[in-house]
Amino acid sequence: MENIIEVSGLAKMFSNLAALKDVSFKVKKGETFGFLGPSGSGKTTTIKILTAQLAQTDGEALVFGVPALKLKEGSYRKRIGVLTDNSGLYVRLTVYDNLKLYCDLYDVPYTRIDEVLDMVNLKDAKKKVISKLSKGMLQRVTLARAFLHKPDLLFLDEPTSALDPVNTKHIYKGLENLKEQGTTIFLTTHDMNEAETLCDRVAFLNEGKIQLLDSPKALRKKFADNTITVELADGSKEIIDRGAEGAQTMYNYMSENKVVSIYSNEPTLGDIFVEVTGRKLS
């Protein structure tokens, strides 16, 4: 499958501080790729380099097969959507007027405004002035603006950080729709549940380096401790090794009709991150 993003040996120094050190990864077309890491790990720096807002110190960053700095050209800008911490809105204008401007800039019909507002559950706020919106609503308007023009590649930096669970679910649904339409999504987050829900593959970034890169399922399998937990009728729980001996124990419990529930002991992405990096996500 075609690679939309190819990064190799990427490094970024801010004065004497290394924000990224030798980062390499590829993102395939149509994939939702999660870039996970705690605050200050280099996630936003990577997005800024990939969207031509920042120049790397070393290494190569290709987007659509061309150096990321070429994204400054209008034809490439039409193909990307960006939501970062510095995506601002015109506070004295309405939601509609903000999105209308971007419809004109991206040559998108105004009918699209209702579609994107529906995707972010803000259809009723169309005529509201931006300064009157809550933080979560603002986040949803900036998100709507990022995918207003149906970009081929969408960069989302902590897209649901200010949202409540109901609206987060709406956003997930919207992003799934975009993915079905073939949009490649590059997502940074420190929310491991979000990564598990949305991402085909995730990369763990810590102190400017990628520590792990695989699908959430493969990572959980890799770090699973090969045991299952059995909850018994008397309320106790027993951890049983997978294998012949464990199978015999299970057989005994089941023969005696003692088993209430069985579940595998797979770690969460958060557990894996802590194990690999020794750091907590926050």
């Binding site: 800024k48 969207t51 031509a52 807002q53 920042l54 120049a55 400054k72 209008g74 034809s75 800008r77 039409k78 990307i80 960006v82 510095n86 995506s87 601002g88 809105l89 015109y90 506070v91 004295r92 204008l93 007027d97 209308k100 401007l101 971007y102 004109d104 800039l105 991206y106 040559d107 603006r145």
Partner: protein
Amino acid sequence: MIFSIKRSFAIFQKDYKDVSKNLYVTVSVLMPLALAALWGMDGIDNINIHYMLFNMTLCMVAAYVQCCLIAEEKEKNTLRGLMLSPASTMDILVGKSLLSFIATFIILVACAFLQDYKPENLLVISLAMALSTIFYIGLGTVLGLVTKSVMEASVIILPFIGFFSFGSFLTVLAESFPILKVTEYLPNLQLIEIANKVHSGASLSDVWFNLAVIFASIVVIFAIAIVVFRKRMMD
């Protein structure tokens, strides 16, 4: 450089809606009008006084409003949104300048009316005013791009308002300090020279050099604006 009228006009439309609810723009636009009304009532009929007010209007409206519009875009992180869109540098700069240009034109005409100033050659004066407006918009753009907030922009513009509004005093100082003779080529002084020549019956062919000097200033200031703008596209 690619230019899209549609994109520039979209930015202009947005600015028009936005600025109508903006207090600092309203105040800065009203100040030259108030002075013009005052001088008009006093019956002042002196070219240098008229043009001190015109130069002040150019600073207060063209340069200051433009400076604040750009600075606010930076402060609110909306400029980066425009920069990341398919709009080219030219689309954004032209779109952001249209409102300041139209507002300046209206205020200059209103000031002339209130001061009862009737130029002998309207075509030449209009051309000189239009070129001067473009120069001051370029100046405002540069200052807006180098500042981080509207507050900072409001402070940084003050010496320029003083310098360009009362710049004719520099020519007096130039007699003692010959190095200041270079200030004679400033657009504000060129505008006054054009006005005095026109008052004495000069035509377009008599003021072409002065117009060329203002035009050269425009080229220089917009070259700086484009360089600074492109630098601001990246962190």
